[in-house]
Structures are given as structure tokens and as C-alpha cells.
């Protein structure tokens, strides 16, 4: 029987588990909410699968390392590896996860050469989108579609989750169109990450890959392409990229 390698990405909002076979093809993948007891969720996930080696990433990786026989890797290297495996020409990776956003620049050979990470507040992250969708009465899955249906954008000036929420509440009270407010919120997230992309992005061209749960939002994707005037590549399951990259790194480190 062939060998299997696991990658687990223990994020602030969700946990992803990817199992690859000896050739690096995804055999199985799982996702669940991190909840209040991440290690219990991890136990639940791992009890369903068989693997020969495991690599952990995400903010919970060090906790995981304490109770499991595992190697760890930062989310930065894991996302870079996953994105590169999915799109071999990738030179820049944008990841917007639950509580942070990061831009990673890759060398021609695919090694991380530079990165920037915004992680001190929820501004412009998945958590920000979740709270704003809720304030406007949309589900997170529909939030981007609703924003795209707007005729025009109402500019939102606050990037801070707390201030933006009260700004949105007062716009609603003024009778403004919720879709237009939604578009404004998407616009503010995109403008922020575009600044980060311009600072960090690889000068050597190549492709831009967007990973993390927020990459599923069609409005963010569209505004990014418009703002940067370049194509943005998104995998079928962008939130799996970290776990997929970790699984590949587990496979590669067993080769050595």
C-alpha cells in the first residue's frame, strides 16, 4: 500500500486537513470550524484518516506540536508551496484568512523571498467581512454577489472593524442602499491589500495567486483585478492552500 502525507492548517477561524499520496495528488480533504477547543476538533479530524507523516501550519501549529508527532511550518511557506503547486507560474501570493492577511513574493524557483503580514487587527480580513455581512443582513456566501449587484459604491472611510461597523450602521440609518454599502466595504478591503501587493509583489512578473477563504468572494476578486490591472488566479478550494502546501512539504521532507 502506498504512503500518505497529511497537512493540517489550524487557523483562527477554520481548520483544514489535506491528505496527499506519494505523487502529491490530493487524496482527501476536510474542513471544520476551529471552535473553542481546537485540539478536540483536530482529534476528530485526524481520527478519520490514515497518514505516514504530518506537517502542521497555522497559528495552532505550536499547540499541535506539543501533543502530536509532527513537523511544523509557517503559514507563509505553506501557502507559498500550495499556491505554487496549483499554479506553477505563481510569483506573488495574496492570502486573506480569518484574522490576518499576507502577501508573499516568490523567487523564480518558487522559494519565499519576501513577505508582509498584517496581523495586529482584524481590518481587511475574513473576520471583518463576516462582521460586515452580518451588519448588513447578508450571509457570508452571498456577500460578494450582493456587492456586485450595486449600481454604485458608497465609500467607507474606516478600516477598523469596530469603527466600520458603526459607520455602516449610520449609513443604514440614513437609508442608504445596503448593496452599495457592501460594495464600499469590498472596495476598502481591496485598496488596502493592493497597497501591500504593490510593496511586496515580485518585480519579476509571474502570476498572482489569491488564497484563503476570502478568495471565494467574487467581488473581492473582480475589484482586485480591476485595481491591479492584472489577472488574479484562484484555486477551486482557495482555503485549502495552506494545508495542501503543508502536506506537500511533509511529502518532500520524507524524501530527504
Amino acid at each position: 500500500m502506498g504512503k500518505y502525507y497529511a497537512g493540517i492548517d489550524i487557523g483562527s477561524r477554520t481548520i483544514e486537513l489535506v491528505i496527499v499520496d506519494e505523487t502529491g495528488n490530493i487524496a482527501e480533504h476536510f474542513q471544520r470550524d476551529t471552535g473553542y477547543d481546537p485540539m478536540r476538533e483536530v482529534d476528530g479530524l485526524l481520527s478519520q484518516v490514515r497518514y505516514d507523516a504530518i506537517m502542521a501550519t497555522g497559528y495552532g501549529r505550536n499547540l499541535f506540536e506539543l501533543s502530536f508527532d509532527a513537523q511544523t511550518v509557517t503559514e507563509i511557506k505553506a501557502h507559498a508551496r500550495g499556491a505554487r503547486a496549483t499554479f506553477p507560474a505563481a510569483r506573488t501570493v495574496l492570502d486573506i484568512g480569518g484574522q490576518d492577511s499576507k502577501v508573499i513574493s516568490l523567487s523564480e524557483a518558487g522559494r519565499v523571498s519576501r513577505f508582509e503580514m498584517n496581523d495586529r487587527c482584524a481590518a481587511g480580513t475574513g473576520k471583518f467581512m463576516e462582521i460586515m455581512a452580518k451588519t448588513l443582513g447578508y450571509s457570508i456566501d452571498n456577500f460578494g454577489h450582493e456587492a456586485l449587484a450595486a449600481k454604485q459604491e458608497i465609500a467607507i472611510s474606516s478600516m477598523c472593524t469596530v469603527f466600520a461597523e458603526s459607520e455602516v450602521t449610520s449609513l443604514i440609518a440614513r437609508g442608504e442602499d445596503c448593496r452599495e454599502i457592501a460594495l464600499g466595504l469590498h472596495g476598502s478591503v481591496v485598496r488596502r491589500v493592493c497597497g501591500m501587493i504593490r510593496r511586496v509583489a515580485s518585480a519579476g512578473g509571474g502570476e498572482l495567486v489569491f488564497t484563503g477563504g476570502v478568495a471565494r468572494n467574487p467581488c473581492i476578486r473582480q475589484l482586485l483585478e480591476k485595481n491591479l490591472d492584472r489577472k488574479v488566479l484562484v484555486a477551486e478550494d482557495p482555503q485549502l492552500m495552506g494545508a495542501y502546501g503543508a502536506a506537500l512539504l511533509a511529502l518532500e521532507s520524507s524524501d530527504q
Binding site: T74, R114, D119
Partner: protein, 386 residues
């Protein structure tokens, strides 16, 4: 491997650095020596020492005093300024309590305005620090400011120094700086023979001590370092990423940056900040017509981000990179330290383009709630290096 002997052979080995220095200051004070507080590397300690005054570096690095400070100062101010003022308000800095006066400089805006408030508590002399150090007038003005400080200290402490005593004092400082550079060279060895904690403790002691008292201690430290070399003892291993840390001052709760680097498996080979190598990097010119002018010339060469343009910082970085051979550079920026924060862009480009070294900027304050995030960034930097 044989265990390393502590570099200090006193009862304070293994204790926080301020304890040793505080005991020293108390001893000096009991013997009738006046104490003057300082906050910054620009304070000309050679002048004070020539006048028989002991300089005391005042507390500025604890998150514990920030809450008190924020009852007066805005929350979005640099933690170093808030902490300093919090210590003054609470009366919890023993060095401040024992100081008869404080020597301050017009470095950044936050400090300048904080000094106005501190002056209500203790006699405080502000020196007008020129901020265009390359201008001809800067040299002249700073010389004049040091002379003015001399006048203030004469009046406040009723003590004096002749120019030849000042000359003697800067010569002694040179002697100390040479010994300090010799000590830092043990961090240039691969793997390093001394670590960040030792470099911090030694620097913390070396600056305010009378040079005559510091020299035997430093010589003893060099002997013990040499012993480590002979025995093949070192910190980290051949694979430990060697890191140069530049940027805002590091001490107390900000030492977390050094600690995290070490916990992630790296070694700090150059603490380039006002509490590290920067103070000892250059010598004073000896035998000039005016020793105060020689002091002024050297002090204006300190490449603090409050200066513009601050090309000296880039040149100093190149020199340090050559000397200590780091694998990566971390720019440590305290929250709301605008000048270091803005300068980080220039420094980052310089490090990547001129030296092709991985560069990481860490912006943080004295709290410990972002240690996980800092660790992730440092680990990612190490992944780039490995």
C-alpha cells in the same frame, strides 16, 4: 558540552541588568557623587564624568507604567515615551529618584513634549540637538549646546571640569569603547561566543560606569570569553540563523524581540540600537584643540532616525554586516515611532539591494499579546534563510 560560566563574576550574575547598576549608583551616591539622569545616547556622558557626575540611564522599557502615563499622555504615542513618563509619575524609577537633574535632548517630537511635563517634577536641561547633522552649523551648535550643558551642571551640582579633564574623560571613553568592540567581536565568531542577554547586560553596565571601574570588569569578561573560545563553547550552532537587529531602542519588555529570535533557533549577533553596539561603535578624536568640539563631532555621528538625511545609518549597517556576517536583518520599530517607521522602507531596500540579505520589519510595542504573530514572522524569515 561543558556549561558556560557567567561573564560577570558578581552577585548579580543571572539577575536583571539594572540591579547591578543600581547598586553601583547607590554606592557612588553614598560616597558623595552627584547623579544626573539621561534618556538618550546623545547625552554627553564624558562631560558629566569629567565633572565628577555619574550618569544614570533612566527607566523607559516597562509596559507596567504605561497605564499611569496614559492618564496624561495620548494612548497612540510611542511606548518608550509613555513608559518613561509613567515611571516619573509613579515615582517608580529608582534612577530618576536618585538623580539631581535630568539631561534631555530634542530628538523626536513625543520626547520633547514629554520633557516639558517631566520638567515640572525635576530640574531638566534640554539640549537643542541639530537634526541636519551634515550641515556645518550643526557641529557648531552642538558644541555650544554641550558647553551650555556644562554651565547647567556647574550651577546645579556645584562642580566643574577643565578642558584637559574633558580630554582625559573622552580618552578613557575611547579605551572603554575599544574593549566593548573587542567583546562584541566574540559575537562575530561563528557560532557566536556571547548571546544577546550578555551583550545587553554588558552594555547596560559599561555606559554609566566610571571607565576606571568598567575597565577591569570588561577585561575579566574578555578573559572568560577567551576561555570559552579555547574550550569550544558557543551559543546556538553552525546552522543557527545569525540576525542583526536594528531600529528603535530595545530593553525591558521590548527584549521580547531578542528572546523570540532565540526561541525560534536564531542567534542575535548584532544588537544595533541605543542600548547596544551603536554606543560603542566609534571613537572620539583625541588631542584636538577643543575636546568639546571632539565630543560634538562624535555625537552627531550617531545615526538616529531623528536625523535627516540619516545616510550614516546605512553606512553603519554596511560596516556591521561586514563585521558580524548576519544571515538576515530585522528592523525593530516601536509602535508610533514615526521616524524609525518611515526610515524602515529605505533600510529594507538598502539591505535587500546592497547586501542581498533577507529583511523583516517588526512593528510592536511593550505588550506580550503579539508574541505568537512575531514568532510566525521570525520563523518565516528563518525559512527564507535556511
Amino acid at each position: 558540552m561543558e556549561e558556560m560560566k557567567p561573564l560577570f563574576e558578581d552577585e548579580y550574575a543571572g539577575q536583571p541588568a539594572p540591579k547591578r547598576v543600581l547598586a553601583y549608583m547607590q554606592h557612588k551616591q553614598e560616597n558623595g557623587r552627584p547623579i544626573a539622569g539621561t534618556y538618550c545616547a546623545y547625552a554627553p556622558v564624558e562631560l558629566m564624568q569629567a565633572m565628577g557626575i555619574t550618569p544614570a540611564v533612566l527607566c523607559a522599557f516597562a509596559k507596567a507604567t504605561i497605564a499611569s502615563a496614559e492618564t496624561v499622555l495620548p494612548a497612540n504615542l510611542c511606548p518608550l515615551i509613555k513608559s518613561s513618563y509613567g515611571f516619573i509619575m509613579e515615582g517608580s524609577c529608582p534612577f530618576f529618584s536618585m538623580s539631581g537633574a535630568v539631561v534631555a535632548e530634542t530628538t523626536c517630537d513625543g520626547k520633547k513634549k514629554m520633557f516639558e511635563l517631566a520638567a515640572e517634577v525635576k530640574p531638566l536641561h534640554v539640549m537643542d540637538l541639530p537634526q541636519l547633522p551634515d550641515e556645518a552649523e550643526a557641529q557648531e551648535n552642538w558644541t555650544r549646546m554641550i558647553r551650555k550643558l556644562q554651565g547647567f551642571l556647574e550651577e546645579t551640582f556645584d562642580c566643574a571640569a577643565t578642558d584637559s579633564q574633558i580630554e582625559e574623560s573622552l580618552k578613557k571613553s575611547n579605551r572603554r569603547n575599544q574593549l566593548m568592540r573587542k567583546i562584541f567581536d566574540y559575537a562575530a565568531i561563528h557560532p557566536p561566543v556571547l548571546n544577546w542577554q550578555e551583550m545587553f547586560d554588558i552594555s547596560f553596565m559599561a555606559l554609566p560606569y566610571d571607565v576606571d571601574d568598567a575597565v577591569p570588569v570588561l577585561e575579566g569578561i574578555i578573559e572568560r570569553l577567551e576561555e570559552r573560545v579555547t574550550k569550544g563553547l558557543h551559543h546556538g550552532n553552525a546552522k543557527s540563523p545569525r540576525i542583526l537587529v536594528t531600529g528603535s531602542p530595545v530593553g525591558g519588555d521590548a527584549l521580547k524581540i531578542y528572546r523570540i529570535i532565540e526561541q525560534c533557533g536564531g542567534v542575535v549577533v548584532t544588537p544595533d540600537c541605543c542600548t547596544g553596539y551603536k554606543l560603542f561603535a566609534e571613537d572620539f578624536e583625541e588631542g584636538t584643540a577643543d575636546p568639546v568640539e571632539a565630543l560634538a563631532r562624535r555625537y552627531l555621528k550617531i545615526p538616529c532616525s531623528c536625523m535627516t538625511p540619516n545616510e550614516g545609518r546605512l553606512a553603519a549597517l554596511s560596516k556591521m554586516i561586514e563585521r558580524f556576517k548576519p544571515d538576515g536583518v530585522i528592523d525593530f520599530v516601536l509602535t508610533a515611532c514615526h521616524s524609525y517607521n518611515v526610515e524602515s522602507y529605505k533600510v529594507g531596500n538598502y539591505i535587500s539591494e546592497q547586501h542581498e540579505l533577507p529583511f523583516l520589519k517588526i512593528e510592536t510595542d511593550y505588550s506580550d499579546n503579539d508574541e505568537g504573530q512575531i514568532r510566525t514572522k521570525v520563523q518565516a524569515l528563518f525559512e527564507i534563510i535556511s
